[in-house]
């Protein structure tokens, strides 16, 4: 009888533990899957980021948290907190070679900062679990702002000062990884100087704004600019005059990071889309002319449906690219969809099929 009681108690404990483990897993948030699919980054309910190997999900390594500056709503003071204490889910971007992870974290008032992690030597990794360490001991964010301040002859202490309502602007955010993982594109954006409250009310005025696109070169361990980025940065200064149209590609848009040794100007997405669209119109007209009236009507209706599909594809492309330039990214998506459509219609034209 006593034995049965012990067995029952042990079974109850086991059931509770299994239930607790299942509940904990339920609260896990999948942040990202590595390009190879070998591991995932998962946020635990306590805020920690775990690196979990796909083949051994019971094991894990922890992405070490670092101290970051945040500013809670309505507070004038910047606080230092551990990055795993931020409530909002961070965005993690794993480099194509999986040696680097960029983590973008919210710091309040729509501002963000970034931490770059570097993978430890594989020889030091136990049981095949990837281990990552912060790449810059003094802070990736700090190094980025120091680079901007040096380039623009500013003081870092003048960037992102809160106004009397606790509103501030100082963000470092993700742009793109280059295909060879040699460069990480980031954008820096902040106010410069002390805020001045306008007499008639409204938003605080600052001396100026600082904005920059730059690369972190993973091979040299330093921030850098290329001609592509210098051109984009100067275009941003021009667009501050309010010339940008709401749905046109941002003039300073850079959608991809240049691989090492493959530096080149940023291709214009607007030109790419216009070219593809002109090709589509010509191909569509040729195909239409070759069809019977019934087939024509069918193709016309198909084309109308495709236009909706194109716009949906462009919206998906835009979101999944995480670009700081949403309009340019959307137009790039429209160009990709149109190029595919041209190829499809050209194939039909060459094979003499209507659908």
């Amino acid at each position: 009888m006593k034995n049965w009681f012990i067995v029952a108690v042990l079974m109850a404990i086991a059931a509770t533990r299994t239930d607790a483990a299942a509940k904990e897993k339920e609260h896990d948030y999948l942040l990202v899957t590595a390009p190879s699919g070998d591991f995932q980054l998962t946020r635990k309910s306590n805020g920690a980021i775990w690196v979990v190997p796909t083949k051994q999900p019971s094991d894990h390594a922890v992405l070490p948290p670092v101290q970051i500056e945040v500013n809670e709503e309505g507070s004038k003071d910047v606080q230092q907190i551990s990055s795993d204490k931020v409530e909002q889910q961070p965005r993690c971007f794993v480099s194509p070679d999986e040696r680097w992870i960029f983590v973008e974290i919210d710091t309040g008032e729509n501002n963000t900062t970034g931490i770059l992690y570097h993978r430890a030597d594989k020889s030091s990794e136990s049981s095949g679990i990837p281990h990552y360490q912060p790449a810059m001991p003094k802070g990736f964010d700090h190094a980025g702002w120091a680079f901007l301040c040096q380039d623009k002859n500013l003081r870092e202490s003048d960037i992102g000062i809160s106004d009397q309502n606790g509103i501030w602007r100082k963000s470092l955010y993700f742009g793109a990884w280059s295909a060879d993982s040699a460069r990480l594109l980031v954008a820096l954006d902040g106010t410069v100087g002390q805020p001045k409250e306008p007499e008639g009310g409204g938003s605080s005025q600052y001396e100026s704004s600082a904005w920059m696109l730059c690369y972190f070169n993973t091979q040299t361990g330093a921030f850098e600019l290329t001609d592509r980025l210098r051109k984009a940065d100067s275009a941003q200064s021009d667009s501050n005059s309010g010339q940008t149209e709401a749905h046109a590609a941002e003039p300073e848009a850079v959608l991809s990071a240049e691989s090492a040794g493959q530096e080149s100007p940023e291709p214009s997405v607007t030109d790419r889309f216009k070219k593809a669209d002109a090709e589509l119109n010509a191909t569509y007209k040729k195909l239409l002319d070759s069809l019977s009236s019934t087939e024509k009507t069918k193709l016309q209706s198909e084309e109308r449906a495709w236009l909706i599909e194109r716009d949906i594809f462009a919206a998906i492309h835009r979101y999944q690219s995480w670009s700081p330039f949403p309009n340019a990214s959307r137009i790039e998506g429209m160009a990709i969809a149109t190029e595919k459509r041209v190829a499809e219609l050209q194939k039909r034209l060459s094979t003499g099929t209507s659908s």
Binding site: R91, V94, P96, Y319, Q320
Partner: protein
């Protein structure tokens, strides 16, 4: 104690009865939605930036409606989109061509989705300030959207002649009149199985005025044939006339 319990239960019943429209503030249960075309090594933007409320999923669990999450809505300067999605596999089926899309934290927002029992038809109502804002009828076929009908446009076409005849001021530049809850907050469009939508809608050119133009439309939309099979426009009494 019992009286208190009765009061609490009664108040709760009243609250439930009056809450025909769901807003994000009330929605606690959400289902993760994983979007398509994710870039290798990048996070899934749809998981982060969109919300799939559990009550926006079809009875067969295959379809749903996703809305921009608060963070996206706050960051976005231009267009926000509501999407109709399939869940297995995760796909964006179509975009809801809404003038004022719903999003998490929208003031005066809300949504109501009525599904046919076989999940082949969804009637979506997006709320606005004075009443319902827009109505969409989605017909599914073989895992895809077969047809999407902007019912709001169709309803407006029926009411437009009476509005023009009244020669009154427009509600605003783009919209001549707006829907308003008048007698109750019951849905203006009701789905009957997967065949009909029964409409009983109130509109006005001035929801704040005492004596504005007001009209009531009672109509029946035949889903399969995509047309009205019954329609009747009348003028309900104004508040001052009651």
């Amino acid at each position: 104690m019992l009286k208190l319990l009765n009061f609490v239960l009664f108040s709760g019943t009243l609250l439930l009865a009056g809450t025909s429209v769901r807003g994000f503030e009330d929605t606690t249960e959400r289902v993760p939605f994983h979007g398509p075309d994710k870039r290798p090594g990048y996070p899934d933007a749809f998981q982060y930036r969109y919300v799939l409320p559990k009550d926006a999923i079809s009875p067969n669990g295959k379809y749903g409606l996703i809305f921009p999450a608060r963070a996206l809505a706050e960051a976005e300067n231009d267009t926000l989109n509501d999407f109709v999605v399939s869940l297995e596999p995760s796909q964006i089926l179509t975009r809801l061509d809404a003038e004022n899309p719903e999003f998490e934290g929208k003031s005066n927002g809300g949504y109501e989705i009525a599904w046919s029992p076989d999940s082949s038809v969804a009637l979506i109502t997006l709320e606005a300030r004075w009443g319902p804002g827009e109505f969409f009828l989605i017909e599914f076929q073989d895992g895809k959207v077969g047809r999407i009908t902007n019912l709001d446009e169709k309803i407006r076409q029926l009411l437009e002649p009476d509005f023009r005849k009244a020669k009154v001021d427009r509600f605003n530049d783009s919209v001549g009149f707006t829907y308003e809850y008048l007698e109750s907050q019951a849905p203006f469009c009701k789905l009957e199985k997967s065949t009909l939508v029964r409409i009983d809608a109130f509109v006005t050119n001035d929801p704040k005025g005492d004596n504005p133009w007001r009209a009531r439309l009672r109509a029946v939309w035949d889903i399969r044939n995509a047309k009205f099979v019954e329609q009747h426009v009348s003028r309900p009494p104004n508040r001052s006339e009651k």
